[in-house]
Symmetry: C2
Subunit: 114 residues, 2 copies
């Protein structure tokens, strides 16, 4: 049951869609998201799991937070992040599936219709 396919979207809608996809368009942010798929994590834990610098992790988390993709709670010294938008699971699954399909289709040499 497609909700929006083919409908005309406003300029603002296209902007919002773009920004949202952009939040998922960086490997490091995807790493953070996938780490959070197992459950809540502190920033320190995410730093460990991703191998990135703390400043970068915080910066990326901030963007994900502003986009509503993750949520945050503070307890003591720690900040706990979690997936706040369950849609993310389906989005990543779909995209991974699409990539798989594309790789399958390209077995035995690439084909570019031209």
């Amino acid at each position: 049951m497609a909700r929006y396919s083919g409908k005309d979207l406003s300029d603002e809608a296209f902007e919002m869609l773009g920004e949202r996809f952009k939040a998922l368009a960086e490997p490091m942010r995807l790493r953070l998201i996938y780490a959070l798929m197992d459950g809540e994590r502190t920033v320190s834990e995410l730093v460990q799991e991703t191998g990135a610098l703390q400043a970068n992790v915080s910066k990326h988390l901030r963007m994900l937070l502003e986009e509503g993709i993750v949520g945050r709670r503070k307890q003591g010294l720690n900040a706990y992040y979690r997936i706040a938008d369950p849609t993310i699971f389906e989005l990543c699954d779909l995209m991974c599936g699409s990539i798989q399909d594309r790789l399958q289709a390209n077995l035995g040499g690439f084909s570019r219709s031209s």
Copy 2:
């Protein structure tokens, strides 16, 4: 039936996922995709529908083509583009729904857990 959620992905997989999402992370490319949701279009038609310059349309279409999101066929002077990856419909629907939900949740003032 989630296919990949929570699984560990390789560095390369995260890169591919990121690149693919990046293809959808620009308003102009989303406009092109939405125009193609009604069916095949020539470059000229897309230029008209989007109001963008022909050079930009061609450049964006190239990226979508390389990502396997659109397909292309040439006939005479024209190049006809079409959606090649049906996953795009679901992805955009899901994302639009997610945005809707977020806007709904924010009625009556923004809330940022901090």
